[in-house]
């Protein structure tokens, strides 16, 4: 640590040097205004002591100048002065002083104050270092999140979307957590859909999404059953993801006759909004994908009928947990209200846009914490 002592009387410079050197501080001194400026620039001290009266200028002017020269660096300026009136002290602090010790001063007192200022300098240096490291990591994570978004968005482009029978809304949060929604019609006319919500953030989520996407589109080509695809997806995730990561999701197949066969794990209830206004539910009965081993994995499927003009709606928990400006979660009741107002007797595209608008109105300026995924499906026949 370096100290610059500015005093017109050499004897004070010597005393201060003696005290400071005991603390392991390197000391340089200056006895007039111009010297003080040039030594400050060359030596760039961590702490400065100075007097109110200085040859060649005023201490008040000097402290202002030195604070200016310090720029963003915090350099404590300690006045050691024999003028000790309140008015003088007040002016010193106003000009940028950090401390004031009246002359003649006790060496013990000076050393204690010096140590306090040294500690502050250390703390602030430490803070700068940590801040720099944090800025670096933040930039890195932001880039990784961008990359993950990019990967997932690319996957999404292979899915059907924006038709009279398939609408997918995905709104990404500031802290990205990896929702995935895939819909594809098979050669036999049945439509396969997967809506998934990966644990974790950024890249790890997209790493799981890649093989899931591959398995999904292979299953579309090979007309693989929901049962076999669920088993396969679970096996893939068990083998590639660490034990603290998994994927909640619905996997479903809509036959041309409207029969929906589905597997659900770790997801909120999904809805069937009947065209006559009634609600029915798809229940997610299992643990999410990627938790249970091959022998434990439960794959009993459920089925429900989707009649013409009924709408099947799957929402991720990001929708239910969406908060308004008073920090209230949207919740299931309001989601159902939104759905029942939007979908019956309305073209799917129009209804979906209405719901998107309503969600944005609910949220207003509050921060969206989680990704939002809302998938709605109608039977093509």
């Amino acid at each position: 640590m370096k100290l610059l002592c500015i005093d017109s009387e050499q004897i004070y410079c010597d005393i201060i040097a003696l005290c400071a050197e005991k603390e392991g501080v390197v000391v340089e001194s200056a006895t007039n205004f111009n010297d003080a400026i040039s030594v400050f620039k060359r030596f760039s001290p961590d702490i400065v002591t100075l007097d109110v009266l200085i040859k060649g200028g005023s201490g008040l002017e000097l402290v202002r100048e030195l604070k200016n020269l310090s720029g963003k660096r915090f350099v404590p300026m300690i006045f050691l002065a024999s003028q000790t009136s309140d008015a003088v002290m007040n002016r010193c602090f106003k000009c940028g002083a950090d401390d004031f010790i009246p002359k003649p001063f006790s060496e013990v007192l000076f050393e204690i104050r010096l140590k306090t200022h040294m500690r502050h300098v250390e703390l602030i240096k430490e803070m700068y270092r940590k801040n720099k490291a944090l800025t670096y990591y933040q930039a890195m994570i932001e880039r990784e999140h961008e990359m993950a978004h990019h990967v997932l968005d690319h996957i999404q482009t292979r899915s059907e979307n924006n038709t009279d029978h398939v609408m997918i809304t995905r709104l990404s949060a500031a802290s990205f957590n990896g929702d995935l929604a895939l819909v594809k019609t098979r050669s036999d006319g049945a439509r396969l859909a997967f809506v998934g919500d990966f644990t974790g953030h950024g890249l790890p989520a997209s790493i799981g999404a890649l093989p899931i996407m591959q398995a999904f589109f292979d299953a579309v080509d090979d007309l693989l059953s929901v049962h076999d695809l669920a088993v396969q997806m679970n096996r893939i995730l068990i083998s590639i993801l660490p034990d603290y990561m998994f994927c909640a999701g619905y996997l479903l197949l809509i036959s041309p006759n409207g029969e929906v066969t589905y597997w659900g794990g770790g997801m909120p209830n999904a809805y069937i909004q009947r065209n006559d206004g009634r609600f029915e539910y798809l229940h997610s009965l299992h643990m999410p994908l990627g938790i249970l081993g091959v022998s434990e994995f439960e794959v009993n499927l459920n089925s429900i009928m989707l009649h013409p003009n009924d709408t099947l709606i799957i929402v991720s928990d990001g929708v239910l947990e969406l908060k308004n400006s008073s920090n209230e979660m949207l919740g299931e009741d309001r989601v159902k209200e939104l759905i029942s107002e939007a979908y019956p007797n309305t073209p799917l595209v129009v209804a979906q846009l209405t719901v998107e608008k309503k969600l944005a109105e609910y949220r207003k300026e509050s921060l969206q914490m989680d990704d939002i995924t809302l998938v709605s499906l109608r039977n093509a026949c």
Binding site: N177, D197, T199, G200, H201, P242, D243, Y244, M245, F246, A248, G265, G266, M267, P268, S284, L285, H286, M287, P288, I291, L292, D317
Partner: protein, 100 residues
Amino acid sequence: MSITVSVNDASLQVTIAIVGSFDFSLFNEFRAAYINLKNDYRLYVVDMSMVEYLDSAALGMLLSMRNALGQQSKIELQGANEFIKNILMISRFDKRFDIH
């Protein structure tokens, strides 16, 4: 501290109490709470009565604990509020943990 560990050697019980938001920020701290314990305990209690929010990363951390301690160890998730209990039940954590 957001995590407090208390060990009762007489009853062979460990209690890990979590305060506030149980999320990804506690990843290392939560793992440290059970991984360095010397004995094999009869019962591990995760006290969630002071948890206000829980995200899916926390679910992952609980699964990781389950794997690290072995399927034979008894782990109780205690005191979760309705909101959190609902999250635990949606993911069917009752299959792997005792939820009270």
